[in-house]
């Protein structure tokens, strides 16, 4: 809401600058986002001029006027002060009053006016448009002042409100009353401690209805949607009557354009009192004007020339022929007033907040009216606002008032019982109850102290504050007016805490571990689309295709919520490579979203009580599973090249090792076997798993070299690598306590074995067989060489293992060592067809 300080001063009698008022309003809880000055930057003489002569100059490309303008004795030549001024606009006539910037004047934007030769004449000033004076965007022509409203030579500034300050207030949804001069002025009056005279209490100067005709009838078919409807009729209004400059200024300061006197008056009263009004052309109405529900599917064309199919949940204003307005949102084309309308019926009504909010949302139509209705308009205001508008119409446009018709549902009064010391208890400071009562009365509440009920107050909020419904709302009113700056600062003591959970602690360590291994954390947007998945080679049958889809994504190219971190991490790698990084090592720790969400998936519940266990578990189970994953991408050199020699390009094993390090942080052993994720090189992809309590493998992710086409499509170096693990699963497997190792101090016996197996046999399988064969005397086993080549033959490979054997209670004898060795070889032979090389 934009509002000029001069209007607020007029309504309150407070003599303060706009900035000072703004500071007080901020302290009282209105968010003043800025204060600007009307015509900021305009300096020097700007005077009223009367056009005496117009000489049309036709020899130029466009028609030009050379005008003799009377600007006051001290401002020009001769006894009346006349200047010759060149002007390109044509929207004025001899005798019109215009705004003249004299030489030396600086217009907003730093444009300095000077006497100068132009179009073969000496132009001795400038006739200004609104835009040139910084008053708006209107540059269709120069600004013509209301006839006879001033004399040549008068200062234009007060006439146009130049120099006034305008406050820009962001009104929160609870404070609908602050979308009006009336509401803001009340806050100003409270902030300055002056008595407030409500403009509504000043009866408008409205004549008794003429008996010459009857006013248009009105009605409401649905009091739940429209509980007050008034229709006021004026006949014989002069459609050519001009909106006075003061009203134009106020509309302009509030960000509205002047349209016509009748429309301007409805807008002015809307801004002044906060009551939306709608004017109909009586001659285009047929029968009574009724608020009611439309037929489902009824077609209706709104003022913006859009034909809309209505739903029965909407509220329309209609006459005998059909809908003529979408109530409280936007009028219709058919019954709209035009610039020839002389007979006007003015609607001033009260509509349900939710009905208007729904219609406004349904059609994505937000209007000055709907913004106010959905925030709540003073239930008693409509007849006052109608009378105020009628009085202005008659005063400024003439005509005959023939009366107001109205229907109204009985009004229910809100009563709030509140302990007088509740504000003090909530604030944590002492507040005199009489002070609280005083402040509640200042905002318009009727407060009575309930006899025989201790400290209790009975509070009836004012009709313009439908947001005040609970004791807490009243507490806020008291505290904000006392001033939050007066609150004491006390630090409460919480009970002993439990610190981070194991999962939270591990997550931090996983991030730190990866960072220490050279990975850089990124936080990518989790939005993905079909093209991403195509480039990632995710087939249609892949379960990861089942993702939640956004109804209103930022981009239609990325409507889904990722089901794997790599979907969004690879684009981040691409961006870095694109920015000139030759190698990239990044990771992300974040949620993924598994499964689709169906329509009406989650049941709605009330808010009057705690949900039942069944309701809550239904809600929980309807949400998709959102586990925490950790993923990384390695591209290019993992070890740099420099004076020490060549660097090392990362390979599949670095990706597997990164995943193992994550598992190690959790105290979980991560195993790998050959996998076949489509994003990865089919021969260089490890499926990662952990063993559950009974030794069953649980797959928790993938690691390896990316598929060559994936690397290529993402612009990554060849043989780029990646991993992704389900961190929640690893954390779930983490032991609460790691048991201490038992180890022997007897001498170690070392045995090296080279075994030849088929190339397709996994090293892990051979190792597992050796472990089993060697039995409890095996302390550790390590693969130290893999050889393929002529010495072992085609389709074979040699795996060299170092075994360390040790007993807990003795030095192993040569015979014992040899027996273990043989048993291990035998087991590998049995399980994997291994032969000793």
């Amino acid at each position: 809401m934009l509002i000029s300080a001069s209007w607020l001063r007029e309504l309150t009698g407070v003599d303060a600058s706009g900035r000072d008022i703004a500071a007080r309003l901020i302290a009282a809880g209105l968010e003043v986002e800025g204060v600007h000055v009307v015509g900021e930057g305009l300096t020097g003489a700007l005077v009223v001029g009367r056009v005496l002569e117009i000489e049309e100059l036709t020899e130029f490309k466009k028609p030009i006027r050379f005008c003799q303008v009377e600007v006051g004795a001290e401002n020009g030549e001769g006894s009346t002060g006349v200047r010759g001024i060149i002007c390109g606009a044509r929207n004025f006539n001899v005798g019109d009053l215009v705004a003249v910037a004299l030489p030396g004047t600086v217009l907003p934007g730093g444009f300095q006016i000077a006497s100068r030769e132009t179009y073969g004449r000496l132009s001795d000033g400038m006739i200004c448009s609104e835009r040139e004076m910084g008053l708006g965007d209107d540059h269709d022509g120069i600004l013509v002042l209301t006839p006879d409203s001033a004399n040549p030579g008068d200062d234009v500034r007060p006439i146009l409100g130049i120099g006034d300050q305008v406050l820009d207030i962001a009104v929160t949804p609870d404070r609908g009353y602050a979308l009006s001069a009336r509401g803001i002025a009340r806050e100003v009056a409270i902030a300055y401690g002056v008595a407030f005279v409500d403009p509504v209490d000043l009866a408008p100067d409205l004549p008794a209805p003429s008996a010459r005709a009857v006013p248009v009838e009105c009605g409401s078919d649905d009091f739940s949607a429209c509980d007050l409807f008034t229709l006021s009729t004026v006949l014989g209004f002069d459609p050519s009557a001009r909106t006075p400059q003061w009203m134009r200024n106020r509309l302009r300061d509030c960000g509205m354009r002047s349209v016509s006197l009748a429309v301007d008056i409805t807008n002015y009263v809307l801004l002044e009192l906060g009551q939306p009004l709608h004017a109909f052309d009586v001659d285009r109405l047929q029968g009574a004007v009724i608020a009611g529900r439309p037929a489902e599917g009824e077609l209706f064309t709104t003022l913006d020339h859009v034909e809309r199919a209505l739903v029965a949940d909407d509220l329309v204003i209609r006459d005998d022929r059909g809908a003529i307005g979408l109530a409280g949102v936007m009028g219709g084309l058919d019954a709209e007033i035009s610039d020839t309308t002389t007979n006007i019926a003015l609607e001033s009504a009260h509509f349900s907040e939710t009905v208007i909010a729904r219609s406004s949302r349904r059609y994505r139509l937000s209007s000055e009216a709907s913004r106010r209705f959905e925030r709540g308009v003073d239930r008693t205001l409509a007849p006052y606002a109608a009378a105020r508008a009628m009085a202005l119409l008659l005063e400024l446009g003439g005509g005959e008032y023939v009366g107001m018709t109205a229907v109204e549902a009985p009004m229910t009064e809100t009563v709030i019982e509140i302990d007088a010391d509740l504000p003090a208890r909530v604030a944590g400071m002492s507040i005199d109850s009489q002070r609280s009562i005083e402040l509640l009365r200042a905002v318009g509440c009727v407060v009575t102290e309930v006899a025989n009920a201790g400290n209790s107050l009975r509070v009836v909020p004012p009709t313009w504050r439908p947001d005040l419904t609970d004791p807490a709302d009243l507490v806020e009113e008291v505290l904000r007016l006392i001033g939050y700056e007066n609150l004491p600062s006390t630090l409460p003591v919480a009970p002993a805490g439990t610190g981070l959970t194991t999962s939270q602690r591990i997550r931090r360590r996983v991030g730190t571990t990866l960072a220490h291994h050279g990975f850089v954390e990124v936080l990518t947007y989790p939005f993905v689309g079909p093209e991403d998945l195509r480039q990632l080679r995710i087939p249609d049958s892949d379960p990861r295709r089942a993702m939640p889809e956004l109804a209103n994504p930022l981009s239609d190219e990325a409507p889904w919520m990722r089901s794997a971190l790599l979907f969004t991490l690879l684009p981040a790698a691409r961006r870095n490579i694109g920015r000139g990084h030759s190698s990239v090592q990044i990771f992300e720790l974040g949620s993924v979203f598994l499964g689709e969400v169906s329509n009406n998936a989650i049941p709605s519940m009330g808010v009057d009580q705690r949900p039942t266990a069944e309701q809550w578990s239904a809600l929980e189970s309807a949400l998709p599973h959102q586990p925490l994953h950790c993923a990384g991408v390695l591209a290019g050199e993992i070890e740099n090249s420099s004076w020490w020699g060549a660097g090392r390009v990362s390979d599949w094993s670095d990706a597997v090792e990164a995943a193992r390090e994550i598992a190690e942080v959790c105290g979980v052993e991560l195993c790998a076997r050959n996998g076949n994720d489509p994003m990865f090189h089919p021969g260089r992809c490890a499926e990662l798993f952990i063993n559950d309590a009974v030794g069953e493998p649980i797959v928790i992710g993938y690691a390896g070299e990316l598929h060559p086409t994936v690397s290529e499509d993402f612009g990554l170096p060849t043989r780029s690598c990646a991993f992704e693990v389900d961190l929640d699963q690893i954390i779930a497997a983490a032991p609460a306590v790691r048991p201490a190792p038992v180890f022997s101090t007897h001498p170690v016996a070392k045995e090296d074995l080279a075994l030849v197996v088929d190339a397709s046999v996994e090293a892990a399988a051979v190792e597992q067989a050796l472990r089993e064969g060697a039995g409890p005397l095996l302390e550790s086993i390590r693969l130290f060489d893999v050889y393929t080549g002529p010495q072992v033959g085609e389709g074979k490979k040699s795996l060299a293992f170092a075994l360390r054997l040790r007993a807990n209670d003795r030095t192993l004898s040569a015979e014992e060592t040899a027996a273990v060795r043989q048993a291990a070889i035998a087991a590998a032979e049995a399980a994997c067809g291994a032969t000793l090389r």
Binding site: A27, G29, P173, D174, A357, R358, R361, E374, R375, R425, V426, G428, D470, A472, E476, Y484, L487, S489, T490, L491, P492, A494, G497, T498, T501, G511, G518, F519, V520, V522, T524, Y525, P526, E549, L550, A551, P553, L554, A572, R575, N576, H581, I586, S591, F593, E596, V597, N599, N600, A601, S604, V607, Q609, W616, L619, L623, P624, N640, S642, W643
Partner: protein, 369 residues
């Protein structure tokens, strides 16, 4: 091994004389001092202290002496050998030290060459900032609460006193999942975690909830559709707005330095009543830039205060929706944007830097922002 010579040789006996022994010692000392390096010293050692050295040979003769002379000569020769041995040892030490010094000099390297074989990684400053803020509360006995990013509309809105048709729903531009009727949204705030905490925990409740939230804003220098907040919630008997202020002041002081306080301004949030905006006293200029054009402050725009977040007393309607008796318990809640905090705390000027994942941005923060 040569056995003692039983034959008598007068010349050799004379070699055991005092002068002769002294001469041998003197000759040895000259040679020892003249040994230029360890190899030369080895030769000298062989010549003067080896098995065939004059003194060694002389020593063999001692056995042939009469008992009276044996003692005297034995002592003399023993002392002479000891002197030579000492001289050898100390010369050897000198030469060894010399050699070591030469080697170490020769092995000197240029320590200014690069040493980074593996580039350093880093954690995202938003992550570490969230941790740092959470840690302030953990030290106060709070727990870290969590909730899903794809959240039920009931939890994100209804239970937080944002009814379906209330304009407050449109205060935050919401991503709807599947359709506007699915009942699922991307959470627009961390406040739904309040609801989850109150439904799942025993009273009293003291939780802090950092997390990722979503709104349909286009990315620009100061907006991002995906961002982070940290939320705090305390529910107990007798909590007051003064307690809220004190808690925020404590956070401000821990994060931004001793004496830094907060300021509350009345505002509106559906889930708190009364509600307030939280401003942070500018930790750079501490207000000294206000009205002082010579010393402008970029951090606060010379306002002295920085908009930080929102807060308030938990609306009793919210307590009711989770079944907490608002006549007995009261609570306060607050929330701050992490991106915004990082921007003014660390001087990040463009939101793009935080979301694009450029290595250069995160690396600059290491593992602690």
């Amino acid at each position: 091994m040569s056995a003692p010579n039983s034959s008598f040789d007068p010349k050799q006996v004379s070699a055991l004389g005092e002068d002769a022994v002294n001469q041998m010692v003197a000759a040895a000392l000259v040679d020892i001092a003249g040994a230029a390096d360890l190899a030369a010293l080895k030769e000298v050692r062989l010549a003067h202290a080896g098995d065939r050295s004059p003194l060694a040979l002389a020593n063999r003769e001692i056995g042939a002496l009469p008992p009276a002379a044996k003692v005297e000569v034995g002592k003399r020769v023993g002392e002479a050998r000891a002197r030579i041995k000492d001289a050898l040892t100390s010369r050897e030490e000198v030469l060894q030290r010399q050699r070591d010094e030469e080697v170490l000099v020769a092995e000197a390297v240029d320590v200014t060459v690069p040493t980074t074989r593996r580039s350093l990684g880093g954690r995202h400053p938003l992550t570490t900032l969230m941790e740092a803020m959470a840690d302030v509360f953990i030290a106060m006995g709070y727990s870290v609460a969590e909730g899903p990013e794809l959240e039920a509309e009931w939890v994100n809105f209804d239970a937080l006193n944002v009814p379906a048709d209330h304009p407050a729903r449109t205060m935050q531009d919401t991503f709807y999942v599947t359709s506007q009727d699915s009942g699922a949204v991307l959470r627009t705030q961390t406040s739904p975690i309040q609801i989850r905490a109150m439904l799942s925990r025993e009273l009293p409740i003291h939780v802090v909830a950092p997390g990722r939230v979503y709104r349909t804003d286009e990315l620009d220098a100061t907006h991002t559709p995906v961002f982070h907040q940290i939320e705090g919630l305390a529910v107990d008997e007798g909590l007051t707005m003064a307690d809220l202020k004190g808690t925020l002041d404590h956070l401000a002081e821990q994060m931004f330095g001793a004496g830094i306080v907060t300021r509350l301004r009345p505002s509106y949030f559906p889930f708190t009543e009364p509600s307030a905006e939280v401003d942070l006293e500018c930790f750079v200029c501490r207000g000294e830039s206000v009205g002082n054009p010579e010393r402008p402050c970029r951090t606060c725009g010379s306002e002295g205060w920085i908009e930080w977040g929102g807060c308030g007393m938990v609306n009793p309607r919210v307590l009711r929706s989770v079944g907490i008796d608002a006549d007995v318990y009261s609570g306060f809640a607050f929330g701050m944007g992490i991106e915004r905090t990082l921007m003014f705390r660390n001087g990040v000027t463009d939101m793009h830097d935080m979301v694009e994942g450029d290595l250069r941005f995160t690396r600059a923060f290491g593992v602690e922002a």
